[in-house]
Symmetry: C2
């Protein structure tokens, strides 16, 4: 790729960004869009609907940027919990890295690369026709003393990133402990999930749990709640919910608003009143079914050998969690209970064997997905290398002579197609994770986050750099001794592709995140507004956003000394992300769960991996560039970085697994004087009741808009 | 190797065995040898010294074989604890495997191999000149339908071994729990080791421990004992002990016995009385030093930030063990305390940084040892392949034409040399493990056991089969795709070497274990007998014996279908081992510690590895033998075996890590009514006092032979 192609790509995407920003600045001020651009405020009832019109509404303004900029960490904490804070800290953390890397890369390494003449003589004539390769390390002369600057840069970046990693881990750990100490009374702190029926147990599971815990935890055991297999009931309830929504729409249209939509089509065949009545009858019938199912134990679903067991204190719950209960370790397996809203109920409907089987199916499916995904990657690769395309599709030759088309195809199209395919991955991985046997939404998203990250690194980074064809890729893997040199040749060569990828995939996806195209379109099509009380604000899908941010971090760190031209674009990406995500967390997303910052260890591992990859590439490059001394001196960095990682794992990771005795006891002692404790323990008994077993009431109060929206999970 | 060479080797070793057995049968009956052949009985004071002479004493007898044969498991348990039981069960377990494998191999597979004619026409003329290869699978014709018998045998053995593994694991788990339930009051059940000073802690470590545990374990905390760095004191004490031994020898020689030895040399230069007096004065001076060191806190060694913390109940100790105590996971790290006699005190003398450094030094040293060990292996390999030897050392040609020399060199010498080199490995590995930071002798031996096993498998099995030269071995490792086929070619070719190895290394080492050559010689040289009360019986060194037994198991399982000729020899080995080790445990060894069967998981993993290796070889062999269908159908065995292993890890391994709440509470409740409990808790306070800090008293009561033998560790 030459400079002009890059400029085309940057131009298009910059234009798109400006367009999105302007549109957002105007559209967010329209009262009709409040469900799209400020759903959090709507759901919390904080939105004030301005109905009066003024000219200000049609002019773009930057007030929201200032608001997002001035947001403090305490505000973020109160709005979206520690997870939100951690999410935004990923961006500031990356910003800190690339501010340093950007300065070093652009002002020191880039000139050195450009004034080398391994690939082309350095001059400033017709810069736009120059290949981007002349900005990369490939252009530095073999054996040149200038490569020692690159060597120093590798050491400096490693030191700096490790320093940041340590402090960030420390800070987030302390935040996690502090937020635990400051937390309200939460059922999940007092509860564990117990699974696994004892083979000697004849009585029902519930009695077994009762007798076991009253015997061995006599002083601290409070209550338990056995899980039932309620998939049928859940089905009925979700039907009822759908019907209720439809009914609300019908009613609102009957009341004179939005008559002209959708239900008008049905109005052709019958009276509207009949339709509402009909619906109401159906709903009542369904609810009757649900109630019958709930009261009849045979219908309310089989008992699953899993129970939420609650204790009178946090320490007692933690003791039960840490211990192997029975002499047979496969009985009474304990697990930290998730928050009640976070429980993934369908999981319990699957039997043990099913879950066991699914686990393997998921592994096979993930592997297959990774393998099959190479096909679009190869295609994309073909577009980026125009020569290949011309050989395969000769009829395109005429078209491809037009400069702008060539620039478009090599600069913009490959990233766009790749991005399209990639957008399917997070939902697929989340589905996989949910089959895998996690008991909470947060665990599922955490697992999906790792899966997507691995997928992205493997398919985008390695598949793109290492080969055009899957076959040679496997050959490389089977010959590990050459892998570093292969990478050292292949990675710099792909620099231009990744610069264009950052611009296309990074910039544009960020601004479309701000613009919220899909919700906006849906909102316009589906005009039957639901009441503010029933309105559900979207939750941020960490499993698709975090891997993207981390992958750009990986690109930046690995290309830092290879092709520093990528750094300014990355810096722009993170600056954009800083403002946009702060704004979105403030206005759009409502957290669905609170893990207490458990996503950070993924960030840490990913950054360590990036560093190690960079160091391995440095060894390879210095070897290829005939500077074996520098390669040799880079080798110690690898074990040092891994040891640093090992230390951090020892020092910080346990904090993210469980709380310490010290903090649990302190918290328990504080709680002893809390007057709300007695009420809380009463509520705890029913906190983990399956929503499918809670009373359902849609039909009678459909007009009051206060129906309990249950059966979510 | 041809049959006659094998027969030579078998003949020599069989002769040696018979010789050793006969000598043992006679020598064990001589009263003078009681310290060599029944040290356990001597140490326990159960030996009755027969001084009257009769002719029976000079005739070999088999009474001891009968006694060993009729030994019950309860007796073994009482004599050498669960570890002894587990050790003997490894042999019975192997016997069960090879009884089955031997029958299948010798009566089904061996004839099939022999009647193939891939390598040579099957006839019975001059059997002794036949190559041993004609008994291996290599002799079966390519693509022959008979290979399906081998295929079935692989499946049958896998199923049978997995069945045995499961039942054995289950049996030993239940034994472990039962022995815990039946155990006496033991200090280690009530104690944990706490390490890691808090950075915020200003006061001495002892005060910090006291205040932390009284605050957070108010009801159950009993006492603690801070460890001191006592290497200097330990040095003094061991000097005193040596001097005391010398003094005893001098005294006993003065009393008229054994005058003629060693000290006679000193008698040339001075009066004997002077010598004793001199020694006594020295000893008193040393003891004075020790006492001064103990009383003076500045001399008794720096406080180490490690303390043994004792609790009033087992459950409390276990809770403290399982919990992360402080918000900083690197503070108050808890670990199960070993038995007081099992503590490895020198470990505490090393500082944290020293231990950290040693850990890496040990890893590097182990790797180096593994690499350098290839040199003797290559040499041994050269001997086995006589042709190579003749090329390198042409002057030997004349000698090598004599049949018996050739047979000796190819059949016996290689194994003997290998065995000699190998005998250095267990002590070296134990030294490595002791540097690695384990706090108890049992942990050190367990770690050394794994190290020796890995070393043996790698150096004896892989290095011998895969190559003659280290260089090509690494090449193979770097090309993993060919590794199975390479192995499938190389492993059957080495069958004859391993058969000879079983006979030489296995049989002879077993009978020399019975004969106890080294202690016998030492006993004769060093005639100054120490008193029975001071006599220390040797402990069984599991880390050198278990890997050997397991390695023969690996050989047997992998060669089961490749060269079944090895099986009868292995069966003989295990039968010998069964009798000999039962006898030795009954008469010779006294356990130094009790791990409660923690060696079994190593046996399990090793057997699973053998199975997987056999299956991989089967896939390779069936592929080479042009029976791809059989190779394909063998593939599923691999994941099935690994899944089985995974299940066993889940089901049984946690039992070997910690005791369950159920059994701890039951044991505690039993203890509540125990009248000895109060006394025990009093003793517990000082149970973990460093032996170097306990009073030393050698000088005054040297005549009474009741000096406390302290400062062992």
């Amino acid at each position: 790729m030459i400079v002009s192609a890059l400029l085309t790509s940057v131009g298009i995407n910059f234009g798109l960004c400006v367009l999105y920003f302007t549109l957002y600045s105007i559209l967010r001020k329209q009262p009709g869009n409040i469900h799209v651009y400020a759903p959090r405020l709507v759901a919390e009832g904080k939105s004030q609907k301005k109905t009066h019109f003024n000219i200000d509404r049609l002019l773009p303004s930057t007030g929201w940027v200032k608001r997002a900029w001035t947001l403090t960490e305490d505000e973020i904490m109160s709005v979206s919990g520690l997870d939100g804070v951690v999410f935004l800290r990923i961006i500031t953390f990356s910003l800190k890295i690339f501010a340093f890397a950007g300065v070093v890369g652009t002002f020191i390494l880039l000139p050195i690369n450009y004034f080398g003449d391994q690939l082309s003589i350095s001059d400033f004539s017709d810069l736009t026709k120059k290949s981007l390769d002349s900005f990369s390390i490939s252009n530095v002369n073999n054996g040149s003393k200038r490569l020692w600057v690159h060597f120093c840069a590798v050491y400096a970046l490693t030191g700096y990133v490790c320093f940041l990693l340590y402090h960030e881990y420390k800070y987030i750990s302390s935040k996690r402990i502090a937020s635990f100490c400051a937390s309200e009374l939460r059922p999940d702190q007092f509860t564990i999930l117990v699974r696994g029926r004892s083979s000697s147990m004849e009585s029902p599971f519930s009695d077994g749990v009762e007798s076991f815990f009253t015997e061995y935890y006599a002083s601290s055991y409070l209550s338990h709640f056995v899980v039932h297999r309620t998939s049928k009931l859940q089905g009925h309830i979700s039907d009822a919910k759908k019907l209720y929504k439809k009914l609300t729409q019908l009613r609102s249209s009957n009341e004179g608003r939005h008559k002209f939509q959708r239900d008008g089509f049905l109005g052709l065949f019958g009276r509207k009143v009949d339709l509402v009545d009909n619906c109401e009858k159906k709903l009542e019938h369904l609810e009757e079914n649900v109630r019958m199912g709930q009261s009849d134990s045979s219908l309310s679903g089989q008992e699953v050998s899993a129970a939420f067991v609650s204790f009178k204190s946090r320490v007692a719950a933690a003791i039960a969690l840490h211990f192997q209960q029975s002499n047979d370790p496969t009985e009474w397996i304990t697990e930290q209970a998730p928050e009640p809203r976070d429980v993934y109920w369908p999981f319990f409907s699957a039997s043990f064997v099913q879950r066991w089987l699914w686990k393997f199916v998921v592994i096979v499916a993930s592997t297959l997905l990774t393998l099959l995904f190479l096909i679009p990657v190869i295609f994309v690769q073909g577009l980026a290398n125009l020569n290949q395309l011309e050989t395969y599709l000769p009829f395109l030759k005429a078209v491809l002579t037009i400069t702008i088309v060539t620039d478009l195809i090599t600069g913009y199209l490959p990233s766009l197609i790749l991005q399209l395919f990639l957008s399917f991955i997070p939902p697929i991985m989340k589905t996989f994770s949910s089959m895998q046997g996690y008991i909470s939404h947060s665990e599922i998203e955490k697992s999906a986050c790792s899966k997507v990250l691995l997928f992205t690194i493997w398919n985008i980074f390695f598949a793109n750099t290492l080969s055009g064809s899957a076959f040679s890729l496997f050959n490389i893997l089977l010959e590990p001794k050459n892998i570093i040199y292969r990478l050292a040749v292949a990675v710099p060569a792909q620099a231009s592709f990744f610069i264009s990828y950052v611009v296309t995939s990074g910039w544009t996806s960020l601004s479309s995140e701000l613009f919220r195209m899909k919700p906006l379109v849906f909102d316009y099509i589906n005009c039957s507004k639901i009441a503010d009380e029933d309105f559900e604000a979207p939750s941020i899908s960490y499993h698709s956003k975090i891997p993207k941010i981390l992958f750009f971090g990986l690109l930046g760190i690995t290309y830092f000394f290879l092709a520093p031209l990528i750094l300014p674009f990355l810096l722009a990406y993170y600056c954009l992300g800083y403002i946009i995500y702060r704004n979105q967390i403030l206005n759009v997303y409502v957290p669905k769960y609170e893990t207490g910052g458990k996503f950070w260890p993924i960030v840490h591992s990913s950054t360590i991996f990036s560093l190690v990859l960079m160091q391995a590439l440095a060894i390879g490059i210095f070897g290829l560039k005939k500077l074996p001394l520098a390669a040799g001196f880079t080798v110690p960095l690898l074990p040092i970085t891994l040891l640093f990682n090992e230390y951090c794992r020892k020092r910080f990771l346990p904090i993210f697994k469980a709380y310490s005795l010290e903090s649990l006891i302190k918290k328990d002692r504080d709680g002893e004087n809390d007057p709300r404790m007695a009420d809380f323990l009463d509520e705890l008994v029913t906190a983990y009741k399956d929503p499918a077993l809670k009373p359902v009431q849609y039909s009678r109060n459909t007009n009051e808009h206060s129906a309990p929206l249950l059966g979510e999970a």
